[in-house]
Amino acid sequence: MHFAPPPYFDPGSGSIIIQVAIAAILGIGVAMRGSWGKIRGWFGYKPAPDDDSTDDN
């Protein structure tokens, strides 16, 4: 994949490398949460409301 660089600042090489690594690990949890949600869905559980439905700022 090729991505356009950020328009006006350097995001930092080390920051990008560590972000890709950390995010990859954390992404597994999110994917599992998604699958678990689907399995729960088969048994009639409803997902928790997402961020958009609240105004907690």
Partner: protein, 460 residues
């Protein structure tokens, strides 16, 4: 063609557009380079959802001529922010809420196929008591798989200072005043206690992040970037940052003024009399804005804010400011902004050419300033001669409500207990003569059951 305009000193980094003012009205020019991003923000419904949630400043598209027509796609007029404040003036809770607002905006943006291209704390302002993004051009169309460019900035501007404030010392918020692009992560990593290495969020986003910055400073990241960050991975990253921020807490305790009202030599009747007098002056003069200097937890500021007067409530004590902010949130107050300020060394102008962040004085003058139970701290603790105090106040307000605290007052005696009294001129006559040079005395009232006196002054 350029038409008379005044570009803002802080608005030069991002080629997407810039702020300018003309005839006192603030505009933002959206450049052609940002036309697709801006249109997506408006057409996707994201703008409307964020404005509804008070997370983004509303604006209207206007016909005003652009400041630089060759670049201009559109000119918008954002709603004016009542008072611009900076992260080094925020309490812990304010910085934390600004961090959480930024993450909440980024999550909502991703759902609309957009992303925040920066995560600067300076893009957040408190509007009607809520942390709100003021940079409409911070959004760009999300390219699936692209890492979050603003990750480092978020860690430097928010996570690192919050962790330092919560886990090392609350006064480390001052590092944001030294480092305008946020606290360097290697500095945060050195200052944080070793136990933070056992906290996943802080270990990953600060300690390992800092080491990676050193190790890969000159690395070519094209191949890493090309590997990409899936949307699940990006969601995981944002959740993790949110959790790391949520876990950081700071409890205001041992406030310098915590017991102040209980310990003063004010009787209840004197306190009420002081409030009544100030409320009367507010009613008679109806100032457009008030700065309450040395506001403690904002008791007197609320006399103004409850009359719908835009009020900034300043204090030197981080605990007092934090308690004040918590009260704002609890009561959903819209007209009062608590901020941290050391009047003996107020916020200077900062950044490139000293033009990016305005000093305290540049952000004034306020229509009315309160200086209640304050003058002895400046004149005696900090040795400022009364005429210089009068000059300072004349530079920041039109009207001044000031409390004269005489030398025999126990609070003044406390300040003089362990030092030589070199303040022969600190008398009521000396005060009236010094301030009389810069102000007319409109009214003055002895505070009942006290030796103190309240003055309503108007600048000459």
């Amino acid at each position: 063609m350029t038409i008379n305009h005044d570009p803002l000193g802080a608005s030069f980094r991002d080629p997407s557009g810039f702020l300018f003012s003309r005839a006192g009205i603030l505009y933002r020019q959206v450049n052609h380079t940002a036309s697709k991003d801006y249109s997506r923000l408006m057409d996707s419904g994201l703008y409307e959802r964020l404005v509804k949630a008070s997370l983004l400043i509303p604006h209207s598209e206007v016909d005003a001529p652009p400041a630089d027509a060759s670049l201009s796609f559109k000119v918008i007029q954002p709603q004016r922010v009542p008072f611009i404040s900076y992260p080094y003036e925020w309490s812990f809770g304010e910085l934390k809420d600004a961090a959480l607002a930024t993450l909440s905006i980024q999550k909502r943006a991703l759902k609309a196929g957009m992303t925040l291209k920066d995560a600067s704390a300076y893009n957040i302002q408190f509007v009607h008591g809520k942390a709100t993004l003021i940079d409409t051009l911070s959004f760009e169309i999300y390219q699936p798989g692209k890492p979050w460019d603003a990750y480092r900035q978020f860690c430097q501007h928010f996570l690192a200072p919050l962790a330092l404030m919560a886990l090392v010392d609350i006064r480390l918020s001052g590092l944001l005043r030294v480092h305008i692009d946020g606290v360097p992560l290697n500095l945060a990593s050195r200052l944080l206690p070793a136990r933070t290495r056992f906290d996943f969020g802080l270990q990953a986003h600060i300690h390992i992040h800092a080491s990676a910055q050193t190790r890969y400073a000159d690395a070519d990241v094209k191949s890493t970037v090309a590997r990409g960050v899936s949307q699940n991975a990006l969601t995981g990253l944002l959740d993790s940052l949110e959790k790391a921020v949520q876990k950081l807490n700071w409890k205001p305790s041992g406030t310098e003024w915590g017991e102040y009202y209980a310990n003063t030599n004010y009787s209840d009747s004197a306190f009420e009399h002081k409030k009544e007098t100030i409320a009367r002056w507010l009613n008679e003069n109806k100032p457009a804005s008030v700065w309450d200097l040395g506001a403690n937890n904002g008791e007197f500021s609320r006399l103004a804010s409850r009359m719908n007067i835009k009020t900034v409530s300043w204090d030197i004590d981080p605990s007092a400011v934090e308690q004040n902010y918590r009260a704002v949130k609890a009561a959903k107050e819209k007209n009062i902004l608590p901020l941290l300020l050391d009047l003996t060394n107020p916020s200077p102008s900062l950044g490139f050419a000293n033009e990016e962040r305005d000093s305290l004085i540049q952000r004034g003058p306020a229509d009315m300033v309160f200086a209640l139970a304050l003058i002895h701290h400046l004149a005696i603790s900090n040795n400022v001669p009364l005429p210089r105090l009068a000059d300072f106040f004349a530079g920041i307000c039109r009207q001044l409500v000031i409390e004269w605290v005489p030398k025999p007052d126990s609070q003044v005696q406390k300040l003089l207990r362990s030092r030589r009294d070199i303040f022969d001129g600190y008398t009521r006559e000396g005060f009236e003569s010094a301030f009389g040079g810069r102000f007319h005395i409109r009214d003055s009232v002895d505070v009942r059951e006290s030796e103190r006196r309240l003055y309503l002054l108007e600048r000459r």
